[in-house]
Point group: C2
Chain length 208, copies 2
């Protein structure tokens, strides 16, 4: 039996198109015969390094208006519930991302991540406060209070910072980003199919 | 016989993804039963209004690096020639866009536009100087010198400015942009299929 290729799925909880990708990546990857490694990270520091103090969708209103409309259309196309807009947008994702980093090698990472996205973009709930993260963890049968406490320890904060540095050093500038084992970078929910094809060696025009 | 729906294709000659869209919109639209109205415009003033003095692909190097790689991949996937990077990027598209505006209702608009894109992104030629535009027009059997001269007259310059104001007032913030008759805006080459579906009334989840 041959080893399945793997792609990394770098996602940010406050990111609208990361949400779309998170809802469909498992089925798409399974169909393609590709494993997915979920890599939560914070986009804020990367945006800050390029001079942005908030989401580009807030900085550029025309772009932001169309993003919400496009998200609504794409969510409908994917059969997802109507999109709810988090208020404020973007949500502070620090607490949720710390928890996800703690769950990096745990079987609850994916259900937790999908629950955070559902709360944020389909249920209109806040994900910003530790209490919101605790509630989501509790809902998965975990000890939310204990997990959030452990996620706030120095070792885990370091892990989050290191993940951010890894993201930047590997060329990530937005989310979602898909990275193949040979370092090919695909940015955006619209490139999931191309990333999966690349991972299985099906490359356009014989590219390497 | 029923009237075919129409979409407007707003494109900028310096825009890499407008190039990809220009190579495939005719076949895709014909297959969908949609007419396309080609709408050349300048993105520069819109970028300038949001504080950008050059392409965001230059302002944000990580984003720019991946854009060129992605363009290479997407061009290969679409069966296009290897991408050549215009130097400088973005090319000054004023002269070519003026000519295209003059050709707005002429049968040479589309072949001219595709020839400009080919020169810019597949042949590695400059499109910035009037002489380059003249050469492209001549190559289509037109009187390039005369056309470029007419394109520089005040009436045509006004037409270009009015097109830019129309773009902005209709919510355009990037290129390519597809606009349906009911004003639905789709941004980016990746949304061509969705724009065509919308135009023929095939809308996700019963959206209106």
């Amino acid at each position: 039996m041959t080893r399945q290729p793997t792609i990394e799925f770098w996602y940010e909880f406050a990111s609208t198109y990361s949400y779309l990708a998170a809802t469909r990546i498992e089925a798409a990857a399974a169909a393609a015969g590709v494993c997915v490694r979920w890599r939560p990270f914070l986009l804020g520091p990367i945006f800050a390094a390029q001079g942005w103090t908030t989401s580009p969708f807030n900085l550029y209103p025309a772009k932001g208006r169309n993003m919400w409309r496009d998200l609504e259309r794409e969510a409908a196309r994917l059969g997802l519930p109507p999109v709810t807009r988090p208020d404020p947008f973007p949500q502070n994702s620090l607490s949720a991302t710390r928890a996800a980093l703690l769950g990096q090698d745990q079987d609850w990472l994916i259900p937790f991540s999908k629950a955070v996205y559902g709360a944020c973009f389909a249920e209109g709930r806040s994900i910003a406060e530790p209490s919101a993260v605790i509630e989501i963890l509790n809902g998965l049968g975990l000890d939310g209070t204990q997990t959030v406490k452990a996620a706030a320890l120095e070792a885990n904060k370091t892990r989050l910072r290191v993940a951010g540095e890894e993201a930047r050093s590997r060329g990530i500038y937005g989310a979602p980003t898909f990275l193949t084992e040979d370092g090919e970078l695909f940015w955006g929910n619209d490139r999931l199919e191309q990333a999966l094809s690349w991972a299985v060696g099906d490359r356009p025009g014989g590219m390497r």
